[in-house]
Amino acid sequence: MTDETEEIRMAQAGDQSAFGHLVTAYQTPVYNLAYRMLGNAAEAEEAAQEAFLRAYTSLRSYDPQRPFRSWLLSITSHYCIDRLRRRRLTWLSLDDEESVEPKRLASDCPDPETVVAQKEREARIQQLLATLSPTDRATVTLRYWYDCSYEEIAETLHLTVSAVKSRLHRARCALAETVEGEMNYAL
């Protein structure tokens, strides 16, 4: 039995400390998904907390045959999709983005020019994602940041594989239309 399986079993029995270890292990994937879906750090933090609380409440119904990460990301993405549907305005302004800047995992480079370029690229990505429907946004996020296969995305979002394929294609076409420049990629 792996450490994670044991921690899940203990958390199912009501051990909050074991659940704390699971939170530590999965906080970044859950938070990143919430951030990519919702577009700002404050909401992402709130959503990540809520997703973990929902996971704790539903732990008894968790099927150990299923990957825990996929189950947790499913809870997070559904919560974020519901939250986005309740939200009237999904557009993230650049000002909002700058006011609550999250930390990136990749380089901690102090070079100001790199930092500015990263911020601009990040803002652009979030603006692009914000133009998609909540489910398309979740599909693109799971594909690019979690390297999920069509089958994994389908399981996480409760869609069919062909729906995932067509959503990804549609989202790419829409996003590609809005992308300008950066045409240096060779065929």
Binding site: V23, Y35, L53, R124, K165, H169, R172, V179
Partner: protein
């Protein structure tokens, strides 16, 4: 090949889901269709942009916040169970305290001895009596529906207020600890 088919293949190719035959077909189409070639380059640019974005790290306090909320929720749950138990216990004690008095009342009115010494006829008569009482209560309820509803609401409000006071007291005690 039609342009819409080529477009779907572009997406599949970015996901490494295109086999050699279809890849060759796509490249053949792109070599002859400028519109699709332009779309393919836009899609590649988009793919590069998204693929280069790093995972956003969770704030360090997230774990502590989640565990604190879990603890708060657990305290509230315990307080609700405690207050419910208290209310049920009080009602049970009240019923137990009233039971001897009720039995004495039945004895004084002669109903209890009649029930004990009487046969099935007494039981039938008693059921008839209960039926009559029930019908009377129904008539009364029709007349007193509005005042009774108000009274029930007052009772519920009082119970809710007492419950909140109890939960608040338990929370304050837990916080003090």
């Amino acid at each position: 090949m039609r342009c819409d088919q080529a477009s779907e293949m572009m997406s599949a190719r970015l996901d490494a889901r295109l086999d050699g035959t279809h890849m060759a077909l796509l490249e053949e189409h792109l070599a002859t269709c400028n519109a699709c070639l332009a779309q393919w380059r836009r899609m590649q640019a988009l793919d590069g942009l998204l693929a280069s974005a790093p995972m956003v790290r969770a704030p360090l306090r997230l774990r502590a916040l989640v565990l604190a909320r879990l603890e708060r929720r657990e305290r509230t749950r315990r307080a609700i169970i405690g207050s419910t138990t208290l209310v049920l216990g009080t009602v049970t004690l009240a019923l137990l305290a009233l039971a001897p008095a009720a039995f004495n009342l039945l004895s004084a009115t002669g109903i209890a001895p009649a029930l004990i010494s009487g046969g099935p006829e007494t039981l039938v008569q008693l059921l008839a009596l209960l039926g009559a009482i029930g019908r009377t209560l129904l008539v009364l309820a029709e007349r007193l529906a509005v005042p009774l509803a108000l009274l029930s609401l007052c009772g519920l409000a009082t119970a809710a207020a007492l419950n909140s006071l109890w939960i608040g007291a338990v929370r304050r005690l837990s916080a003090a600890r």
